[in-house]
């Protein structure tokens, strides 16, 4: 692992004056992205970017500055700018950097050396093969508008006057494909993807099959009548839902009176089958990493246990204010100060497959995708209303496809209304893993 980033950070931290606390994050990443279209390379990008973020706490005030360059002249300027910015902040006695807390950093093998040696032509071939697999899979697939391969390696060092000094590296790759299906004058779209730490872990067949299935099974979809139903969320939709719930458990939201669950520690906030865990030490999680944004060792946190709210997630500041410790949930890039967030969420899975869940549900709606999470979900009020697509569940099996409807409820109601947690756990390229989730009493708005 490169000591270069650590040394750069060391040099700045060494310039701390008097009682000043200084924290430096130095990040560097390189990536390759290939998009193919109709059997040819449409776009090929390859680049490295780097940057530094400097946080200064002086006289109980915090200032921050960043630069997207590791030029030595710029590094000095950034520290000066952060110092200057600190002088304008309000004094806050709770401010302070994270301190080493005795939790050991686990080595997670997130960087596999082979990734640097993959030939460019091989990367292109993966994207081409994926496009071909989708094009030739089903006669109703009329177009593949993009088939991508991308990989990236990123490194980050965090060094501070409080004794933090860590560097970590991870690499990953993925393929994704987006396609269009047409039949009887109707058009639908589908997507598929596969992620891994090395190209040979990618499952092109699965990605192609997903894209084809998603696009074709919605053909002929109609708008449903409005009603109250039990829904089964497809794994990817559940992952998005869990990401939202994670947002309500942020120590910062609790501190500032913006969390739905602020006063409910220890209480039942969800059904008894709902156990939500944040564990960035799980190497299967796409977003796993060895340390958090303040350099503390990643660890497993059980947030909701059998429906009962166990804890919120914290960074050093929110933890201190709450009379708790950081849970190693500082999240950030080099260009910002640490926020608080869940890092790798998953539900403890149940035992049933989606088919078994559908059979038990009998009548309802399978939600295969949602739209407008950023415009119809309010984490403060709890309102949940999103555009949706899916299939009717009838007689315990999938029936006619549905589109142009919304599903609505509140986050609180959905959590209490979890009927069953599926066993079909999937690790996705998002901050949460997915599985099928059965939720009762959701309003479908259509015609």
């Amino acid at each position: 692992m490169s000591s270069e980033l650590l040394e750069m950070a060391d040099r700045i931290v060494a310039q701390a004056k008097g009682n000043e606390q200084v924290e430096v994050v130095v990040g560097r990443s390189s990536s390759t992205e290939v998009r193919v279209y109709e059997g040819q390379v449409e776009q090929f990008s390859s680049a490295t970017s780097a940057g530094i973020g400097v946080r200064v706490i002086s006289d109980q005030r915090q200032g921050f500055a960043y630069a997207a360059s590791l030029d030595p002249d710029v590094l000095g300027e950034t520290l000066a700018e952060a110092r200057d910015n600190a002088s304008f902040a309000t004094r806050d006695e709770w401010l302070g950097l994270a301190e080493p807390d005795g939790v050991e950093v686990q080595e997670l093998d997130l960087y596999r050396p082979g990734i640097d040696k993959v030939a460019t032509d091989d990367k292109i071939d993966l994207a081409l093969a994926l496009e071909k697999a989708v094009r030739s899979g089903d006669r109703r697939i009329t177009g593949v508008d993009s088939a991508d391969y991308a990989d990236g390696v990123s490194e980050a060092a965090v060094v501070s006057t409080a004794g933090i000094r860590v560097v970590s590296r991870d690499a990953s790759c993925y393929v994704s494909v987006s396609c269009v299906a047409e039949d009887g004058g109707d058009t639908q779209t589908g997507y598929g993807f596969s992620v891994g730490r090395l190209p040979d872990e990618l499952d092109l067949e699965a990605a192609a099959a997903d894209a084809t299935k998603r696009a074709t099974r919605l053909l002929g979809a109609t708008k449903p009548a409005s009603s109250r139903v039990t829904v089964v969320l497809d794994p990817y939709v559940t992952a998005q839902f869990l990401g939202l719930i994670g947002g309500t458990l942020s120590g910062e939201a609790v501190l500032k009176g913006r969390s739905l669950f602020a006063d409910r520690l220890g209480e039942e906030v969800a059904a008894g089958n709902f156990t939500l865990i944040d564990d960035p030490t799980n190497p299967l999680a796409y977003t796993a990493s060895e340390t958090d944004g303040e350099g503390l060792a990643s660890r497993r946190n059980v947030l909701i246990d059998g429906g009962r709210l166990q804890q919120f997630v914290h960074n050093a500041y929110t933890g201190r204010r709450a009379g708790a410790a950081s849970t190693a949930n500082a999240v950030r890039g080099f260009a910002s100060t640490p926020g608080v967030g869940c890092r790798a969420l998953s539900l403890v899975p149940g035992t049933k497959s989606q088919e078994e869940l559908l059979a038990e549900v009998g009548e309802g709606v399978l939600i295969s995708s949602v739209k407008g999470l950023h415009s119809g979900v309010n984490l403060v009020s709890g309102d949940f209303s999103t555009g949706a697509e899916g299939l009717r569940i009838s007689g315990g099996a999938l029936a006619e496809p549905l589109r142009e409807f919304t599903i609505g409820s509140t986050l609180q109601k959905m959590l209490s209304g979890v009927v069953e947690v599926g066993g079909d756990l999937e690790w996705l390229p998002t901050r949460a893993a997915g599985l099928s989730l059965v939720v009762r009493d959701v309003t479908v708005s259509g015609s």
Binding site: S49, A65, N85, S226, K371, S385, G387, S445
Partner: protein
Amino acid sequence: MIDETLAQRTLEVALARGGDFAEVFVEDKRSSSGHLDDAKIEELGSGRSRGAGIRVVVGDTTGFAHTADLSEKGLSAAAEAAAAAARGGGGGVRQVALTPRQTSPQPVVERPEEVAKATKVELLRRADEVARSAGNAIKQVSASYGDSRRRILVANSDGVLATDDQTRTLFVVGVVATGDTGMQTGRRSIGHTMGFELFDRYQVEDLARDAAEQALTKLMARPAPSGELPVVIGPGGGGVLFHEACGHGLEADHIQKNVSVFAGRVGEQVASPLVTIVDDATMAQEWGTFAIDDEGTPAQRNVLIQDGILTDYMWDQLRARKEGRALSGNGRRQSYQHLPMVRMTNTYLTNGNSDPDQILADTPNGIYVAHLGGGQVNTATGDFVFGMTEAYLIEDGKITDPLREGNLIGNGPKVLELIDAVGNDFAMGPPGTCGKDGQGVPVGDGVPTLRVTQLTVGGTAA
């Protein structure tokens, strides 16, 4: 930035292996921000990002590389990487002759970078004070200030050499109120392509007051209805409706890959005759305004739909070349680290003739959406959503109960045809960020009051 001869040499390196087109995009962006939350100025932040993105096009293949190193060595390395990525064949020397293009950046009266930090911080305090004093139910206030100065230089193998200097200033207030039904939020933002004089034109106290008012009103909100209803949309931010209903669907990249419901429909009636939709990057100081797009093309006003008839799509360099037609100034990118693509600028519905009060009075029942949130669209199917952040029930032609937040859903072409009234009170909405393929760019939206005879409202009330 970089000088003309260096740009020229870099282009020549980029085309050393052959190619149809090459471009050097240089960007130098400085920004400053301030954030207040929980009655404290949490921090001031500042940032700098500077670099160049180089692309080379060979046939239908684009090679791209970027670098933060603007020396000749750094630029050449990136140019070579882009050329290699484009996998061109052949060779030979290609000479590039650049012709500087005259451009007029949006005027700035008071440079934000010359305004004292203390002055910026004071804005945050003023907003906090006013929002908190709006009522006992106000429990939390956050406010953000931001300014950025983005200088760009574009040089390409067609001989274009153009620069722009874009300053944007922004202020946002968010409020949380608590009542018997739980917590509710209010939010207001103001942003323009101008300098600190923004705060002479708009008072942060008004933003704070309105945001607080919105949160307090929503404490009394009841669940929104569920199902198809007539919807009246108020002037200003309602432009998001068109951004999603047809904006993305009229981007030429979606058209050329045949993933838009508007493909092949130029010349056809795609909307009610009351509908004229324009995308215009020349609107003085609006959020999506610029002098040149990120490919060096001068900003333009483009009519997309005229009296309901589809007249044109929006284009970037590559899509326009493929079609063999003129550019429209819609080639934009998030930063030098990204490839440009077709993007909107300021998108709006032109003014109509009806009296907005009459439109409401003529709507026996439905909902009135005073403020919209964001939205999302699937351009291939045309289905789109947009959020309502402040909405009311309409009963007997009058606005009555406030409603809880939610999404509305519709199908673009259908919804455009169902617009049966357009008011004469056109206004631009708050600053927005449009996301596409992982890139965000600043955009403006605007509408007069309008009515859609039927949209699906995603509420929970039976």
